[in-house]
Symmetry: C2
Subunit: 597 residues, 2 copies
């Protein structure tokens, strides 16, 4: 029905006849002539109907916003004064010689050219209109290009795209599963996969050597801004490759995608051990665009009378840390400091001590701070020296249990970076490596920092002897403070897997029942293998600079996990429930019946 | 860990040192030397360890089937007598100089080189081993190549890969939905999509112009040999294209895939109206590899005394048809004819009349048949002439309600084709077009032959006036008697959509409740659009010649919709059910409790 997309037209088409299809972006009368901005996937072009062509003019006069048109006409240069340098097609216009109205349109519920005063609820209810906006069009088109580039990279590198099941058994990732009642197996349920983890490992046991899948994954968790009930993962697994090789081939993919689609050359990505990330940045996904660092001062304050510092300083499970903001004296008001005190409270910090360095040569009077009077002069001097303070700097302090200080000051560091726009680079990717195998909960139980299939860097004996000290062969790719992806070399022997299950408190019966097929698979000739998964939604969000993950997903759910457009989830017939061998609990039955009325 | 894949080695590698990783396919001692066939994704190569290299030899001696090895060695030519022309690597072998056992393997539960005596249940339970078989490796690798080729074709043609939700609202395709209870919305349920039909139409309303997705779809139906609870669809939708253009661009895709991956040139696909397919082949997916055709003889037998024929011949809803098997007299025994009589019974036929043409010049004695005595000589002559019978032919007859005759003789035609190996071609693709909009059920209600979003070839007025006569703009691509895919131009105006809903007996309230968002979308400037979906699993099954759809899916379900490997579906905690606001019905509760013990 068309000869060209609207957005591609330019001066090279002048004097050609073209046929276009699209939507009326804008229509206006001007000096007795009708101007229509016609929009399609590729852009907008101006079409002119003048009264000389009576029939067309009459039709064009009926046209309203969002009508769907087919237009034939001749491309001509615009008058010099009418050239619009902000439009790709701004040098030309189409002189319309034929017009067909393919479909009419009622007035749409919100304007497409402005987000002002358009709530996200109405955007999501009329998602099919919201998706007409240029930035939604761009984001989804960009997403399609990224997946295509990723697939090409992986195809070229010998990876096979293999589909794994969506209806499967409860997975051990730890989040809540979405369940699907079985009709043919009374009282039993499928689970939707939180990731294809075990299936991809089994594919390695099968000898497929290199696997990938752009896979839908599901987690029934309460949603945060960057979470959705279903999300998409670039899922990768390989056999006979070392940690180094796996990192190298997947880093190659990310670098290629950024180079081809953003024109950004990352170069070789830096590596940082987990311990350094926690110590210097208070996070296992440090945002290296921000030049601030945490500096531990525990050893400097063990002897002071000030209990807020001395208590944690003498507790092996606690941490005392300084975070210097260069020039912070001028940049931060008292009010902001109060807000930051509240902010670190979210992470459990009981306060936010600080020192303003007015004159570092005068340790008595030159430091302005609610706490400095509690610190002897030599300690003041040592702290200033440790953080390399200059006049005008502001130093924040955290002193509490290790986890609290790390999380609070890590988050404060990022908040300062954003509030004061301290970013020194647009992109800061890195690998975080050398993760511990386990973390200990408050009750002294071990849990897996990654997942229980991650291989340790040591022997089973060393692992059993000192689980807390063991490092894993896991690695995370971090970009601008966001975890883009992570993975590990996997355990490939049944004995090591059982050792790890044992340390995690999973009894043999439970091992057999939940993971019998994995333990079997590891016994029948499992190759050394490992892999990784990237979050596609987050990758696209970062690459497009979208504010929300919902802006890079065609039909996202709301924060309460609903689709306001299709009105999902919905009410279901009693008959269907009966076939599935389930019934609603009483309260819900009543509520559903009411809603159905 | 490797320098080459095993299967790529050939004479060009002679004298090179290589490092290989893989599985022990076979190990044997021969004249004091150990031969190991090492297998990886690409194939098998023979590795030789001789006793001169003591340490390696001792290790190689410990090796058993399916052990995972890393081998370094030098490629050398085999002795002329030892060359194996059946192996890609048969001209060479690797003289092993270093050996590492990467993992041991217990004796696997069934041999990989033969399907004999290996039940599908055990194959599915140990799917990770079953997938090591060469034909499973080939099938999944081929599948990966096909999807890659399809994506490349669609990317090149400007289609955007856009993901649609898996957690959605009940879809109107008519099959049973899989349901997912919502935790955050008491008593409500998501449905897994039977297809992304409405979402892809909405994407057209949004202006994406060309969409595709290789999409997981779900139907909770009782399974046949070629059905799975979850299946994969190549889902396509376009705007501003005519039926002809949509068929042309998707036909191009199928032709390119067959050319590139099977070396088969289809040429332009033939078209056949639905009515012709039903009349001549008794099927809307005719297998054109089989040269047999149905020939209607209704007009010849209206006057005969033989009620079996005359009854249907005088009933407008019935059909009387002949199916000639050339040379069938010799090819088909009495016993086979009895079996075919049973076979057509499956489709409701009450018998299977036939005539053996021994001597067509002798209408009295030359025709051997249980029914011929009921037919006057001129009728006998007319039938023989109509079907163009020759001596030695066998003619089957069907006389019953239209549906029964069509289905029974259509199926018999295919069975004869297979039993007698009548195929005249390896591939017979075609388009079936000009489908009716509706079919009438026994109660006189209309239902949509495709789905209720399919556009008719006529105006709303003509449609309402005579729904039974209306044709749709639908099209199916059929290959070798299997429906590979189908689609249609969609309704793009709200008024036409409401007309069709009305004819289907969907009241306005229900239209609004179930399809309100679609009707809205059609009001706000929907472009003319249409598309199609191909079944990927079936396409791969046909292309690989696999016997079952399960042989082209990595982790399929059994016919009772279970995964015997992971033991899914499984039993679920009471706590989880409580969070989802559901409980098991009593009987199932008891059964589940018992199973949990």
């Amino acid at each position: 029905m068309r000869s060209e997309y609207c957005g591609v037209l330019n001066a090279s088409f002048i004097d050609q006849e073209v046929t276009l299809c699209g939507w009326v972006d804008r229509r206006r009368d001007h000096g007795g002539v009708i101007f229509i901005d016609l929009r399609d996937r590729d852009g907008v072009v101006q079409v002119v109907f003048d009264p000389d062509a009576k029939e067309n003019f009459a039709l064009a006069d009926k046209v309203r916003g969002e009508y769907v048109l087919q237009v034939t006409g001749k491309v001509r240069a615009r008058a010099a004064a009418a050239v619009n340098p902000n439009m790709n097609t701004g040098e030309i216009e189409v002189y319309g010689t034929a017009l067909t109205i393919l479909n009419e349109a009622e007035t749409i519920p919100f304007p497409l050219d402005s987000y002002a005063n358009v709530g996200e609820d109405i955007r999501l209810k009329y998602r099919f209109l919201d998706l007409r906006r240029q930035d939604m069009q761009k984001a989804l088109r960009f997403r399609s290009k990224v997946t295509s580039a990723i697939r090409n990279y992986l195809d070229t590198n010998g990876f096979l795209d293999i589909e794994t099941p969506i209806l499967t058994r409860a997975t051990p990732e730890g989040a809540r599963d979405y369940l699907v009642p079985s009709r043919t197996h009374d009282g039993k349920f499928f689970a939707l996969p939180q990731s294809p983890q075990l299936f991809k490992q089994l594919l390695m046991v099968s000898g497929f050597d290199r696997y990938y899948q752009i896979a839908k994954c599901f987690r029934d968790e309460d949603l945060r801004a960057d979470r959705q009930p279903e999300f998409t993962q670039i899922d990768i697994e390989t056999s006979f490759m070392s940690q180094e090789q796996i990192m190298s081939i997947t880093e190659g993919m990310i670098r290629e995608v950024f180079k081809d689609l953003k024109g950004v050359e990352f170069g070789e990505l830096p590596r940082m051990p987990f311990s350094e990330a926690i110590t210097k940045y208070g996070s296992d996904k440090p945002d290296l665009r921000i030049p601030l660092q945490l500096v531990d001062i525990k050893d400097l304050v063990t002897e002071v009378d000030f209990k807020v510092f001395a208590g944690p300083a003498n507790d092996p499970k606690s941490r005392v840390t300084a975070l210097k903001v260069p020039g912070g004296n001028d940049k931060l008001t008292r009010k902001q400091i109060d807000e930051y005190t509240k902010f670190v409270g979210i992470y459990g910090a009981k306060g936010l001590a600080y020192i303003k360095v007015n004159d570092k040569s005068d340790l008595e009077e030159g430091l302005q701070s609610p706490i400095v009077k509690n610190l002897p002069l030599p300690v003041r001097a040592a702290i200033l020296e440790r953080v390399n303070a200059e006049n005008g700097d502001l130093i924040f302090f955290g002193a509490d249990r290790h986890k609290v200080v790390t999380e609070a000051l890590g988050a404060l560091r990022c908040k300062l970076g954003a509030d004061l726009d301290l970013y020194t680079a647009e992109w800061a990717p890195l690998w975080v490596v050398d993760f511990p195998m386990f973390e200990e909960d408050d009750k002294g139980n071990w849990s897996a920092l990654h997942h229980p299939f991650t291989a340790p860097s040591c022997s089973p004996e060393e692992l059993s002897a000192n689980p807390g000290a063991a490092l894993s062969q896991a690695y995370d790719l971090v970009l601008n403070g966001t975890e883009l992806g992570g993975g590990s070399v996997r355990i490939h022997t049944s004995s090591m897997q059982q050792t790890v299950f044992g340390l995690l408190g999973i009894e043999e019966d439970e091992q057999r029942e939940k993971f019998g097929f994995l333990l079997d698979a590891l016994k029948y000739g499992a190759p050394p293998h490992g892999g990784l998964a990237f979050g596609l939604d987050r990758l696209i969000m970062l690459m497009t600079g979208a504010a929300s993950i919902r802006d890079v997903i065609a039909f996202p759910k709301t924060q309460s996990a609903a689709c306001v457009m299709t009105d999902a989830p919905g009410i279901v017939d009693e008959l269907q429930l009966r076939e599935l061998h389930i019934r609603l609990r009483k309260k819900e039955q009543a509520a559903a019946a009411q809603a159905a009325e």
